[in-house]
Amino acid sequence: MATTEAALILAPQFDDAEQQHDSDSLGMWVFLVTEVMFFGGLFAAYAVYRYLDFPAFVAASRRLSVTLGAINTAVLLTSSLTMALAVRAVQLGRRRELVYLLLATISLGAVFLGIKAYEYYDDYLHHLIPGSRFAFDGPFPARVEMFFVLYFFMTGLHAFHLIVGIIMVGIITFLAWRRRSVVQGTTQVELVGLYWHFIDLVWIFLYPMLYLVDIHR
């Protein structure tokens, strides 16, 4: 942004602003790779249980709403678009556009969480939350319960990341809105954007894995 460009602080270990920017970006990517491994453990657990108890996974997956899941996927993909456009806006120095696009991103994130919360509530009503009150009238209830352990763990961890993302985007929005020079150049918006898109990436895989297990049966 033109107004904050002058206030850009160059840390002493960097030769120039470009090197600093590339370094910041690389650091964020390294962090995201650790996040891939963090979720990777759950993906591996899912793969093993899906292999061992496939019929139970098919039965359990039918209890989830394909439509709500698809709507939520669309909502999150749209939020990634607004985030990508926000990065573009900050690169072009359009502050007002940036603030609106970040607010749109936050709103879409909140819509996703709202739909997710409704799904959780529905699961609660149908006794699908693992624990002493879990009840499933179909075959293999214990194995179906395992699917729901994975379902709540994976979507819960994803939702937690989304909450963190909303808070981070919120902070950046506030700073950009108040023209605080803390938002230097484009780096902050780009990095929070990378985090947001990562959350989207996780969901892109979670949706078919959890909601679409052989739904044709």
């Binding site: 793969a47 292999y51 990508a84 078919p208 052989d214």
Partner: protein
């Protein structure tokens, strides 16, 4: 290098592609493709992920060092999944007592 400004057209084209792929994954899941269902679903998810990585996350315009980090993540995740599954899926191939 990583400051490339992605054109509006590209952003909307990627978004359109993602939406079409979402419809495709929901639509194709309705057909019985046997084991193909998993392959189709995961291939579509991988294409969607690639679109997000390359364009929304600017990987296409990023420093080559960023590519190394991103590919390392994919390789390590593949190792985790492949080695774990090669264990579980091959159990029982040989009838060994106390396996």
């Amino acid at each position: 290098m990583s400051d490339a400004i992605v054109p509006l057209r590209t952003n909307f084209a990627v978004f359109g592609g993602l939406m079409v792929l979402l419809l495709a994954t929901v639509g194709l899941a309705r057909f019985d493709l046997g084991r193909g269902n998993l392959i189709v679903a995961m291939t579509i998810a991988a294409i969607k992920a690639l679109l997000v990585l390359l364009y929304f996350m600017h990987l296409k315009y990023s420093h080559r060092l960023t590519w190394v980090v991103a590919v390392a993540g994919i390789i390590w995740l593949s190792l985790l999944l492949l080695l774990t599954l090669s264990d579980f899926t091959s159990r029982g191939w040989i009838d060994v007592p106390g396996k």
